[in-house]
């Protein structure tokens, strides 16, 4: 099942195409990484942008700059991947988004892209009554001192892969296995913890696709 067509009531930019959203359900990290690389190749060949939404099986990933010492206890597989950032955890209860976007069509500005991703996640959090914020120098979205969503991007010829991970359910126990993004002493939070309610994954996917599409100027999510 693909997400619905442009949400009614949201006025899309006149003539703007809808964004293709692929909802993958729960998948192993490796399989989706291979899919991302295929999708990136497709966008490099001129295909339109797309957004992959997935919930991963438990895994710890290290960005290129990641320090293996920030993995404190590995009860789950640890992978090194071609994205920026340090170490992070993915697993059930977290919505992972992989926008495969051609940044050459968007002014070729990596920092602006990271800030745009933050804007999407702040917008999603707001829809669940959570006030997410940016912290200068610390890419991601924060609620107070705790990290709500992590961002890490890999770019090849201006086509981006990897993306963001939004904590939906309370994952503090799982994050106990790592020092998130190498920032010792900072905690993680989630939509569940910050709002006092645990939204369904489908609900968060819906909202994320919608906010993403409007933030990046698409005529809704399809």
């Amino acid at each position: 099942m693909i997400g619905e067509a442009a949400a009614p009531g949201r006025t899309a930019a006149a003539g703007a195409a809808p964004l293709s959203v692929l909802r993958l359900g729960r998948r192993a990290y490796d399989a989706v990484l291979a899919l991302q690389q295929e999708q990136q190749a497709a966008v490099l060949a001129g295909a339109p942008d797309r957004l992959l939404l997935v919930e991963h099986e438990p895994v710890i990933t290290l960005g290129r700059g990641g320090d293996a010492r920030h993995v404190l206890a590995a009860r789950v597989p640890v992978l090194r991947v071609n994205r920026g950032g340090d170490v992070t955890y993915h697993g059930p209860g977290q919505l992972v988004g992989y926008p495969i976007l051609d940044l050459a069509r968007r002014g070729q500005d990596l920092h602006r892209y990271l800030r745009d991703l933050e804007a999407v996640l702040i917008g999603v959090a707001a829809r669940f009554g959570v006030r997410g914020e940016r912290r200068p120098g610390l890419t991601g979205v924060w609620v107070g001192e705790a990290k709500l969503a992590a961002i890490g991007v890999g770019v090849r010829r201006w086509v981006a892969m990897h993306g963001f991970a939004l904590n939906v359910a309370d994952l503090r126990r799982e994050f106990g296995m790592i020092v998130p993004c190498g920032l010792a002493g900072t905690g993680v939070t989630s939509l569940e913890e910050a709002s006092g309610r645990r939204p369904s994954m489908a609900e968060v996917e819906e909202v994320t696709a919608d906010v993403f599409a409007s933030t990046f100027g698409y005529g809704g999510a399809a």
Partner: protein
């Protein structure tokens, strides 16, 4: 000719980037547009490509190092035949010209080589789905009138197991033979309700063209097929010495190298001391609680009075017996240890010792102390009673002649009147400078210390 590869400006707000990884080594042949390094800025990781083909001659910025935008990061020996059609990101031209090239309007006038071929005949619906799925229409066989490609042909191509063309990876998105990517929820995308504006399609095709070559091969070229599995092993790390650590290292080496240490250990029955401490606490006689450390300090000071050889220094061929009994207390800090000095301890009452010792330790832990608080010690007490240890030996703190190491107070079996009974005891070990202290002198000092602590009422009564 040598070509400079510079740190690309990947954002208006980017000032410097970090080289995460060199994908090519010096001496490697590099094709134009081939990725040669990965650069990180903020939390984005970008491949930098060679602007021209050639041989990599020099790497100027190593992995893990940062460089300002525009800095030369590598030198390439150019080979004229492999000049790229367009400026890739790492070239100086790209710094200036990339933004113009990426504008949508420039598109129509600069179609890429692939787009120059006559487009295959296809229905609008087929084109749309092909674009959505990233299917190359040139690889699809049309079943409509005159070989025209219709929607069903594209869907069939998308569902086919084998990638049909060089752009196969895109086609494989929906291939059912790849179980991990082919669940029902990534089937073909239904046509959108509204037609895209006519300008959209060429604009979307433009950046690929502007980049000068078929980018689809990049997917096959450099990208690793799967993530590399790593074992989170503990990595050794070089830590520079803090000034405190440097000082400890120097003084302890000097001490252990120059001072012939010997050690004497005694086990002291602390039953009376335990009772005394409880009684003092209940009586509220003193303004501050008395700890075992305070009792040991007081007893040590009194014992030192009778054994001045332990309160002395060796130097210049002579023994200097100190006039004051100033006892240093070793205090553990996160990054080392520090020894604040309590002065004229033999002249202090137990209560005064408690007040002053507590203040000194507190200040030491907070890093607030005057240099005189750390100097002038004539003897040191090192207490590890807070840890569950039996006994330990300490290294003499020069120019002092002895140091007392205090273990934990715990219940141990002792023999009393011919019977084994449990009693609180503590083991203390005295380290002595054998140049000026003989074994018997050290032993006598410990004997007196033991007598005082086993009859602790003396420590309360003795006011001066």
């Amino acid at each position: 000719m040598r070509v400079e590869i510079v740190m690309p400006k990947l954002s208006d707000t980017m000032e410097e980037g970090t080289i995460l990884k060199w994908l090519k080594a010096v001496g490697d042949t590099v094709a134009a547009g081939e990725p040669i390094a990965e650069v990180e800025t903020d939390k984005a990781d970008m491949e930098v490509e060679a602007s021209q083909g050639g041989v990599l001659r020099e790497i100027k910025v190593g992995e893990g190092e940062s460089a300002a935008v525009g800095t030369v990061i590598a030198l390439l020996e150019e080979r004229a035949s492999t000049v790229a059609a367009g400026p890739p990101v790492g070239s100086p031209e790209a710094l200036a010209g990339a933004r113009a090239a990426s504008g949508g309007l420039a598109a129509g006038s600069a179609p890429g080589p692939k787009r120059e071929e006559a487009p295959p005949r296809a229905s609008p619906a087929a084109r749309k789905i092909a674009e959505e799925l990233g299917i190359d229409l040139r690889a699809v066989k049309g079943s409509g009138p005159g070989g025209r490609i219709v929607r069903e042909d594209v869907e069939a191509a998308a569902a086919s197991t084998a990638p049909a063309t060089a752009e196969g990876p895109a086609a494989a998105i929906a291939a059912p033979a790849r179980p991990e990517v082919s669940a029902p929820d990534i089937g073909p995308v239904p046509p959108a309700a509204e037609e895209p504006a006519s300008g959209i399609v060429p604009a979307a095709a433009t950046p690929a063209a502007a980049r000068g070559e078929d980018r689809s091969r990049a997917g096959a070229a450099g990208a690793p097929a799967a993530a590399e599995r790593v074992r989170p092993v503990a990595v050794s790390e070089r830590q520079e010495l803090s000034r405190m650590r440097q000082s400890i290292a120097r003084r302890m080496s000097e001490s252990f190298r120059d001072i012939p240490h010997f050690y004497v250990t005694a086990e002291i029955d602390m039953e009376e001391a335990v009772r005394l401490r409880e009684a003092l606490q209940q009586s509220e006689l003193y303004a501050t609680p008395i700890s075992y450390t305070h009792l040991v300090l007081k007893a040590t000071a009194l014992a030192l009075r009778h054994h001045p050889r332990l309160n002395a220094s060796f130097g210049d061929g002579a023994i200097e017996v100190k006039g004051e009994i100033n006892i240093g207390m070793a205090v553990a800090l996160d990054e080392g240890l520090i020894v604040p000095v309590l002065r004229r301890v033999d002249e202090l009452s137990l209560e005064e010792i408690a007040i002053q010792a507590r203040r000194l330790v507190e200040q030491a832990k907070q890093g607030r102390f005057a240099s005189e608080d750390l100097s002038g010690g004539t003897f040191t007490v090192s207490n590890m009673g807070m840890l569950d240890i039996e006994d330990f030996t300490a290294v003499i703190n020069p120019p002092q002649a002895a140091i007392l190491a205090v273990g934990s107070i715990k219940e141990r079996p002792v023999v009393r009147n011919g019977a084994v009974v449990p009693a609180h005891t503590v083991r203390v070990t005295l380290s002595c400078d054998h140049r000026i202290i003989d074994g018997v002198v050290g032993g006598r000092f410990l004997e007196e210390l033991k007598r005082l602590l086993e009859n602790p009422i003396v420590l309360v009564v003795h006011d001066r």
